[in-house]
Amino acid sequence: MSRRFSSAIMAVAVLTTVSLGLLMPVNGQTPAKVATPAATPWTPPRTPDGQPDIQGIYARGGVGGLAVEARESNGPHGAENPLDATASNPLSVSDRPDGLRNIPKGFNVGGTPVAGPAPAEKRRLGLIDPSNKVLPWKPEEDRNRRDFLKRTNPAASLRYVEYDARCALPGLFLGNGPFEFIQPPQEVVVLSEYSHFTRVIHLDGRPHLGSNIRLFNGDSVGHWEGNTLIVDTTNFNEFTAFSREIPYLSDALHTIERLTIIDQNNMDYEVTVDDPKLFTKPWKTAGLYRKVKKGYEIMEYACAEGSLTLENIFGKPPSR
């Protein structure tokens, strides 16, 4: 199959598409600047145990600072590839001082055909708290992060290789799924195509795991408030990254996610990141889950089995 567009044009077109889709009301008028209430709020069906039924497969658009494919080819550093670490761009990807990517007007949900239109009203996307849109780093931890990033390309040792590139469980933020939501009694189970992982959100009121149990995905407990699922996650290990530019969070990480049903195809997503070892206060970023077209199936994504990344970076390890 030949392509009429280069991928970059397609990506730009797509982002414009998505942004217009997100900004335009269905009747095609100029983008609304203020969210107006929907004419009829969506009432979801219920599962047998009374949860609002959100089951299905979703693509997730951004969460602010994720590896969004948009790239300014002649960006602020001229013709440099923004992925190259250079003296003028030591952070290797983002040119923001706090490491968070500039969020384009729309989000790329990753090449997945969606079931229906984007929500009619403009959504909050990207970093939404603090309102000045700068991450509240502890100054010393931000310095540590920058020093760390300078040793990632080339990777000085295994520690400086992105966890993502090692096929590690991505935790809450990385990996674009798509995600299949299943709701057995007293649970929301989220299946990710990317890296074939499962997140279980327990709704049965159980306590978190003991503090000596540490997980890449953390331990999630949640409850429904109306049409919003609230998820509290603790017990992260120290191997969670937020994005390429924020290559590690600490084991003090505690997150609160809110998934709010907009309509039968769309859910707002918000996550509060509270990591008191790295930041002076919690911060919040937002994204969007969009249901994919019927007939789409999750495929196997075995990662370690086919990955040559560590060998390509470091060479073959000596055999025992």
Binding site: S7, A8, I9, A11, E162, E300, T309, N312, I313
Partner: protein, 134 residues
């Protein structure tokens, strides 16, 4: 470019990106964007694996010496959904591959596109940036 944007706008919201997101490793850790490469050769093997498929080609140089190159492609999941079929690029097929060379200097690269004998250019859905960068 404006024609194409209008086309994209007309289909807003219902289909997103022919180019899937690969959320993982940095291209720049392994490959060098300042070393574009283009080879023509005969396919010896394709590994349809995640996170990246790999294609191996025997490339003959001017002296007739054959080097087996391998190139990184996108995820087979993405390739399959882009319409690639395993039996469409079998061993023995003569193809042209353009992309970027590995930093190591080995005959390894990250492929941006593959051109079939009939002239069709297939984009690989991989993480390579675009040379023309529009």
């Amino acid at each position: 470019m404006s024609n194409k944007l209008y086309l994209a706008v007309a289909s807003f919201g219902l289909f997103l990106a022919a180019r899937p997101v690969t959320a993982h490793h940095a291209f720049a850790a392994e490959f060098d964007v300042s070393k574009p490469v283009k080879v023509r050769g005969s396919i010896t093997k394709v590994d349809w694996v995640n996170p990246h498929s790999w294609i191996y080609v025997d490339v003959k140089d001017a002296d007739g010496k054959v080097t087996n190159w391998h190139f990184e492609l996108g995820s087979p999941n993405a390739l399959f959904r882009l319409g690639w079929k395993k039996d469409a690029i079998p061993a023995g097929l003569e193809v042209e591959i353009s992309g970027y060379r590995a930093k190591s200097g080995e005959p390894v690269g990250n492929a941006r596109s593959l051109t079939l004998p009939n002239g069709h250019e297939l984009f690989t859905g991989g993480s390579a940036p675009d040379i023309d960068g529009k």
